[in-house]
């Protein structure tokens, strides 16, 4: 059942978020002063777009709710349909396990890397090398390399070359002040 409604549920969540954003933008836009230099003023576009997004999201919400209710009422040969879809997917691409946990881990590591750069506690090269080693090592676990030691050495080598190479190029060639 969860699978059957997942698309509608996702659209409902999306439209609710969009309605909340458009409401916030509209309310903020009402505080923008109109200087009278032109007819529409600075608030016009944000307000118009907020209304547009709000209305379209409301439509999407209504459609998703109706589809969900309709799916509940009608009895469909769900199992048969799902088997068919799975077979089609298998033809399109071989099955594989998705790793949302690794994706989440990468988001956290990247956020930590940006925070470290912003804090200026360590140099750019050290922060970058550490970021590459940590994130590439985490991903390598799931890539199952033939020789883990060789992979680790490659990761460390890449990290050092990239981090110090970029630091050199940006500070010495492009004359940019890196964090």
């Amino acid at each position: 059942m969860e699978r059957r409604y997942s698309k509608e549920l996702r659209d409902i969540i999306l439209s609710l978020i969009l309605i909340a954003i458009s409401t916030a933008v509209f309310l903020t836009a009402t505080t923008i002063p109109h200087r009278g230099y032109d007819l529409l003023g600075a608030a016009f576009l944000p307000k118009a777009l907020a209304i547009g997004i709000g209305v379209l999201s409301a439509g999407l919400l209504l459609k998703s709710v109706l589809l969900m209710l309709q799916a509940r009422r009608t009895v469909r040969p769900v199992e048969q349909e799902e088997t068919k879809t799975e077979a089609k997917q298998e033809y399109a691409e071989p099955p594989y396990r998705r790793r949302p946990g690794v994706g989440f881990g990468l988001i956290i590591i990247t956020a930590a890397y940006i925070a470290l750069l912003g804090s200026r506690l360590v140099s750019y090269a050290i922060a970058t090398a550490a970021f590459i080693i940590v994130s590439a090592s985490m991903m390598s676990i799931f890539e199952k390399p033939r020789n883990r030691l060789v992979r680790m050495l490659a990761v460390v080598g890449t990290a050092l070359v990239l981090a110090y190479g970029l630091q050199y190029i940006f500070t010495q060639v492009f004359i940019t002040d890196l964090p």
Binding site: Y37, A43, E93, Y96, R99, V102, F142, R151
Partner: protein, 503 residues
């Protein structure tokens, strides 16, 4: 003409050739690696070009565009995974032909078709761009506003995803460009207390976040994705004149279709190859071979998707309206280098216009050489572990965004937009309209407001001026068609199904 010839000779300087070769090689490589895209490569390269001479910068970026669209052929043929969305149709016949024992032939046919597609559409670029720019000089604010409106509706209606979600995406892009100082009266708006936003949200954090970060998260989640591989062989890669001649009509037809679809504002290469493929199948003596390794199918798809490149450059150079997502990024690069894309560009900066046009030709030749000469090397690069690619690209995302203004705020902005982009993609909201909306927002707003000032608040010129009327009608017709497809067609199908159930 004299400027064009002078610029054409400038192409053959060592540095120009070097940047074009690098651009094509990187483009082909990135285009061939599933999970990386030309949009991402070009968005990531824009900050690096900031330190370069503008002409060399545009040469490299345009070359990347040519390479990225062409490189998709390698993975589409050898892995059945389109490296770029525009190579989707190539998988239909490229992979079956490669698997039947002729991978060299499949790649060879595709490379030749890409080359001729690029060449034919380049002729259109050279002939049409100056004419269109001259016509566009007569456009008033109303025509430009109607054109932007048409571009947004077209990309939402004909792009990927549902129409409503695509329109929402376009609106979000337009909205994201509004914070900062108002373009007409400089009123501060939607800054939410952040002084860094006063100058507006930068194009680079938006582009790199949307195309770089979101794609890297997706690639990490799909870390264990494996594909069937066909090893590439040199045998059959080079075609004889007789073999080429047998494809000549298909080549010309598909290139013309691709060019015209590329010209349509906001639509990229994916759409170019579909009608070309259909037309080739209809005209073929062996339509039953299509989908089973037909050379004609590969020719149609590859000629058309490469032809869209030059097609898409036409509205970008002449009207300041991007013909595809990548040209939206190229437009951003032009703006960063201090140019204003649009009809005035021809008069004010002919050097940059003609350098783009000449690069489109030379990069096409480089593409031919790189794909045939280094195809085997590029095919091997698709084996690179994702852990290396993802982390290296993330490092480039961060340094590229930081390097432009030396602000960590921009890096956070890019990161957050990347997460938003990832969320939007998961919700099947296409990112193309978002980027095009973001790029076109300032034009749309300033043109509408100055147009209304000139008409004293009346919207009538939108329908009383012939050119703006045409653009408005096309926008309305596309809107009606899209709504019909999204609302009426499914409702009718459901009604029929129900009637069938009850009877």
């Amino acid at each position: 003409m004299a400027t064009f010839l002078a610029e054409l000779t400038n192409v053959f300087t060592v540095w120009s050739l070097f940047f074009m070769f690098i651009g094509v090689f990187l483009g082909c490589t990135v285009g061939a690696i599933p999970g990386l895209s030309g949009s991402m490569l070009i968005a990531l390269s824009v900050p690096l070009t900031y330190y370069m001479d503008s002409v060399h910068a545009m040469r490299m970026l345009v070359s990347m565009y040519v390479g990225a669209i062409s490189g998709g052929l390698i993975s589409a043929t050898l892995l059945r995974v389109p490296g770029t969305p525009s190579a989707v149709v190539t998988t239909f016949d490229g992979f079956p032909l490669a698997r039947s024992g002729d991978p060299g032939r499949a790649i060879g046919v595709g490379v030749y078709a890409s080359f001729f597609g690029g060449l034919i559409s380049w002729l259109f670029l050279v002939l049409l761009a100056p004419l269109l720019a001259r016509v566009a000089l007569r456009f008033s604010s109303w025509e430009f506003f109607a054109l932007v409106l048409m571009a947004l509706v077209l990309i939402a209606a004909l792009g990927s995803g549902t129409f409503v979600k695509a329109i929402i995406s376009g609106f979000l892009g337009l909205l994201l460009a509004t914070p900062g100082l108002d373009p007409i009266d400089s009123t501060k708006r939607l800054t939410f207390g952040f002084s860094q936003v006063t100058g507006g949200l930068g194009l680079l954090p938006v582009l790199i976040g949307m195309f770089g970060i979101s794609q890297m998260i997706t690639d990490t989640v799909e870390l264990e994705k494996r594909v069937e591989r066909v090893p590439l062989k040199f045998k059959g890669m080079f075609l004889t004149l007789k073999q080429l001649k047998s494809h000549s009509i298909n080549l010309i037809r598909s290139s013309v279709i691709g060019t015209w679809i590329g010209i349509l504002p906001g639509i990229g290469g994916v759409l170019g190859s579909i009608p070309a493929y259909g037309a080739a199948r209809n005209a073929s003596k062996e339509p039953e071979k299509f989908g089973h390794g037909s050379e004609e199918g590969i020719v149609a798809s590859e000629a058309a998707n490469n032809a869209t490149i030059n097609g898409a450059l036409i509205p970008m150079i002449t009207l300041g309206i991007p013909g595809s997502v990548i040209t939206a990024i190229l437009m951003g690069a032009l703006i960063l280098h201090g140019y204003t894309p649009g009809p005035m560009l021809f008069g004010k900066s002919p050097d940059i216009v003609f350098s783009i046009i000449s690069t489109a030709l030379v990069a096409n030749v480089f593409m031919f050489v790189v794909m045939l000469g280094f195809g085997m090397v590029i095919a091997r690069l698709t084996d690179l572990p994702k852990s290396f690619l993802v982390t290296a690209i993330l490092v480039f995302c961060v340094i590229g965004t930081f390097g432009l203004n030396n602000r960590i705020f921009d890096v956070w902005l890019m990161f957050i937009l990347g997460l938003i982009g990832f969320g939007l993609e998961k919700a099947e909201v296409p990112l193309g309209p978002f980027i095009i909306g973001f790029v076109l927002s300032p034009i749309a707003e300033s043109k509408l407001r100055s147009a209304l000032m000139s008409s004293k608040g009346s919207f009538l010129p939108l329908v009383t001026r012939p050119i703006s009327l045409v653009f408005t009608l096309v926008a309305l017709a596309t809107l009606a068609y899209a709504l019909y497809q999204e609302v009426v067609v499914p409702a009718r199908a459901q009604f029929k199904r129900r009637r069938g159930d009850t009877s």
